[in-house]
Structure formats: structure tokens, C-alpha cells
């Protein structure tokens, strides 16, 4: 990552600009890497939970419940949203 500009603003309207230090750039890179890892883990966990719930709903429907009944029994608010999440689309 290239050094980026940091602007300091004061209550009287003055501003000053400086380039980020190497330490600040390195910290920013580490923050982004951590956030990307956490985001990937969160999305994977969300998708896995949705797939499990959708699998259970499908089995209920196979037993004779309507989609509306199966969704109500499992507390699913929006079946289409669940299907989208299970497919990994955010």
C-alpha cells in the first residue's frame, strides 16, 4: 500500500496534511487483512447456517408441510432471503 494522506482539522477551520507513516501504513494493511479474514469467516458461517436450515425445511416439505407452514414452524421470516444466503449471495 502506498503512503496515504492524513488531514488534520481543527475547530477554527485550519487544516494540515501529512503522509501516513510507515507504521500507520503497515497497521492499515494488517487491519484490512484481519477484516477480510473475519468477513470471509462470517459469510461462510452464515451460509452454512442457512444451508442447514434450508435442508431441514426441505425435509419438512417432503413430509407434507406447505412452504408457508414449514417456514412458520422454523421461524423463517423470508424463505427467499434464506435461499439467497444459502447460495452464498450477499
Amino acid at each position: 500500500m502506498e503512503p496515504y494522506t492524513i488531514t488534520t482539522s481543527y475547530p477554527d477551520g485550519r487544516t494540515e496534511q501529512r503522509l501516513a507513516t510507515p507504521e500507520e501504513v503497515a497497521q492499515r494493511e494488517a487491519d484490512i487483512a484481519n477484516a477480510e479474514k473475519e468477513e470471509a469467516e462470517r459469510q461462510a458461517a452464515e451460509q452454512e447456517a442457512a444451508q442447514t436450515l434450508l435442508s431441514g425445511l426441505t425435509k419438512l416439505i417432503e413430509l407434507g408441510l406447505s412452504e408457508k407452514e414449514a417456514a412458520a414452524v422454523s421461524g423463517v421470516y423470508n424463505l427467499n432471503t434464506l435461499k439467497t444466503t444459502a447460495q452464498g449471495v450477499n
Partner: protein, 180 residues
Amino acid sequence: MNGLELITPTSVDGSGVSLSGAKVVFASATSISINGIFSSNYDNYLFVIRYVHEDYFRGVNMRMRLSGTDDAGSNYAYQRLQASGSSVSGARTTSFTQAEISGVDSANISGAHVYVYGPALAQPTAIRGMSVVGYLGGTIYDQAATHTLSTAYDGCTINNNLNSMTGSLTIYGFTKQSVV
């Protein structure tokens, strides 16, 4: 005077970050550093934040700051509670380099109250964030966080690591006088 008192930062740092009186205004900012807000005048503080994010629903983080330098050590821990539709979930992160304090979503407006307890005292700091995230029309995204260093801090940095935020925030101090 009793109650909450508005605090004007001595300065703010960041790309797209500025001051409008006491209000911290940010446009397409990824990092908002706020200097000179915590002092011996108050023990406890309230941040009121209103913002949107340029991308999908994200968590927002805070770091303690002293004389223009953030503490980015592994001195933070936080517990998250999320409620969306009928789904309620929680997660804890420990020994982390920042504390999650709220969430923010794209398109739909998000807002948060973040309480910070004792940041300018030479003892650990506690943080409690309560936010409404516009995701799916309204998602609860709450946090309880701690910072373990017994250092008196004078500021903080609010980070969104992926993509940027647009909005504003104000900071209040709880007066220490007892109510008569």
C-alpha cells in the same frame, strides 16, 4: 450543571474527516481519529453516531488513542450480540487489536450510541455499543468491549477496515456532579 455536555475535539485526523463546530463530519472515510476529547473533566462519555457504509453490512471498530497515537496492541476484547429476524447470534473475540463498537450498512441509514467508561482514568476502559443497522430493514447489533491497559487516553480512532463510511458523530461527557 448536571447531565450531558457536548465536547469539541481539539482536532480530528483522517482522509475525508472534518469538524463542524463540535460535530465530527466524515465523507468516504475509512478511519476517523478524534483527539482531545477525554479528560479529567468527565469519567464517562457517550458517542452518538449516524452513518452509512459504501458496501455490505460491516462492523465498526474503536482504538484508544493518546497524543495522536493509537494503541493497536492486542489489548481489546469484545462480545457481539446480533438479532436479525428470528435469528439471534453472539460471538466473542479476545486479544484483538481493536474493539468492535457498532455496525453500519449500505444504502439504509445506521446509527449507534456508544458509551465509553473511564477512558481518561489510569485504569482499564469499558465500552458498550448499541446500534441499529439498516440491514433488512432493521438489525440490532450490540457490543460490550474492554481495553485492558491502565493508561489515561485523550482520544480514539473509529475504523471501518473494508470500504468507507459517510456520516457524522457527536461526543458528550457525563458530568460528575451529583443530581440535587
